[in-house]
Point group: C2
Chain length 256, copies 2
């Protein structure tokens, strides 16, 4: 691509957004770059190389450059990237120039913590409403917000222009809540309940399952243990393991 093309300049200088459809893997990394850039900006850096930003974000520099190249050319060859400019660009692409309103449904153990989580507010969002189905919890105030009954969702959603719904209910309630969110026009949902939700075409759904993360780590623990368990089988302990030798996690070595 010739010359500098800045698709959708943040300053809206008459140009057009034309959000390029980024690879999903790239989208998932942009927030990480953004955080690293904010750190750099706070420590007085005005410029950063792909190498520098990549290591701050925990990726390799080739990947970073490829990712950023999808946004257009915001670097200067021989110099690096302008930190401020890149922050603006990424925030623009991620749609963070407007502070989206988030509705959190389910104010139990986890929901309570999410309601008080600074990161949402400090990173571009506004928790606009809290809901729960349990009347015992309705009325409680968390972080300056009053918990409302879920039946008030339609009214509140219209008033607050809710853009994103976060579900932190028990799994048994999650699908019903998702349906209600969809019904009031919410098109992005983040689900913390450990279950599969189905939503209509056009609604984006992401999920965070805390236990799954631990189970993935458990797999790798198991794997590491099963490898080190056979210290010397003659070399290729990594391949097939013909037969014999019952080794079911002797007791993973911890500490000295």
């Amino acid at each position: 691509m010739s010359q500098h093309r800045h698709p959708g300049a943040p300053g809206r200088a008459g140009a057009v957004p034309a959000l390029p459809d980024l690879p999903e893997a790239t989208v998932a990394r942009l927030p990480e770059y953004l955080r690293a850039l904010h750190n750099l900006a706070e420590t007085g850096h005005e410029t950063v190389s792909s190498e520098g930003l990549a290591s701050a974000a925990g990726v390799n520099s080739a990947k970073l450059r490829k990712d950023l190249s999808h946004l257009g050319s915001y670097g200067t060859r021989g110099v690096g990237y302008d930190v401020g400019l890149l922050i603006d660009q990424i925030e623009y692409v991620l749609g963070l120039t407007q502070r989206r309103a988030v509705a959190l449904v389910g104010v139990g153990n986890l929901g309570h913590a999410l309601a008080g989580y600074d990161g949402f507010v400090s990173r571009g969002f506004r928790i606009a409403a809290l809901f729960d189905a349990d009347t015992a919890r309705v009325g409680e105030e968390i972080n300056g917000l009053v918990v409302r009954h879920i039946d008030e969702l339609p009214r509140v959603a219209a008033a607050e222009a809710i853009a994103i719904g976060v579900i932190a209910t028990p799994a048994s309630a999650a699908q019903a809540v998702a349906d209600q969110l969809v019904a009031v026009g919410v098109t992005s949902i983040l689900n913390f309940a450990p279950c599969v939700l189905s939503v209509p075409e056009g609604v984006d759904l992401r999920k965070v399952d805390l236990a799954i993360e631990l189970q993935i780590l458990s797999f790798h623990e198991h794997r590491k243990a099963s490898l080190t368990a056979l210290p010397a089988t003659g070399g290729s302990a990594l391949t097939a393991l013909p037969g014999g030798l019952a080794v079911t996690d002797p007791q993973e070595a911890i500490g000295t």
Copy 2:
């Protein structure tokens, strides 16, 4: 592969683990299958087809079959999978046959919620210890566990055989905590702090960043808004968008 090969039967009938090194994408889905299988078992199903399990887990059946084929052949052609057998097999591969001990560091807002999260306990883990650096929080009891000072980590880790460390501290403390966990022999870490951690080779690190999930959703909101914003540009509104037409999120349509 000829006949039924059951690499590493759970019942340890003298056979060998021989954990096949599964594709990472497959590993990440196994916990989801496991949850779906438990649901099926509870509702009395003894057998399930790839189609049925796939839809319960929110994936397509081809992917499911490919994933399961990496574990060996546990299905019966023309019939489906034996629910109980598959549960055993997946639990075995994920290393859930032993209840791994988890240490949670950082008992603030989020950590507090994690300490009380049922899902960890119900899905194969044991929260063995809670730590914090803030002496004001040390001694507090959460869910039957007393919060200890982080300096006690070495002693406790040795006593409890901690396998996995969960970091729920502020970002500023996270790297130091990670270092301490690594120092006492922990080789798997789940990080909730919004920062990049570096750990030595051989230590597995996963990360959950709640704000990042919202930012990814925000991107898609932005994208949807920018597409629907040009209702009829003559057909190919999806391609480049030559120039002109300043469209910076008019106001995303919410509600009716």
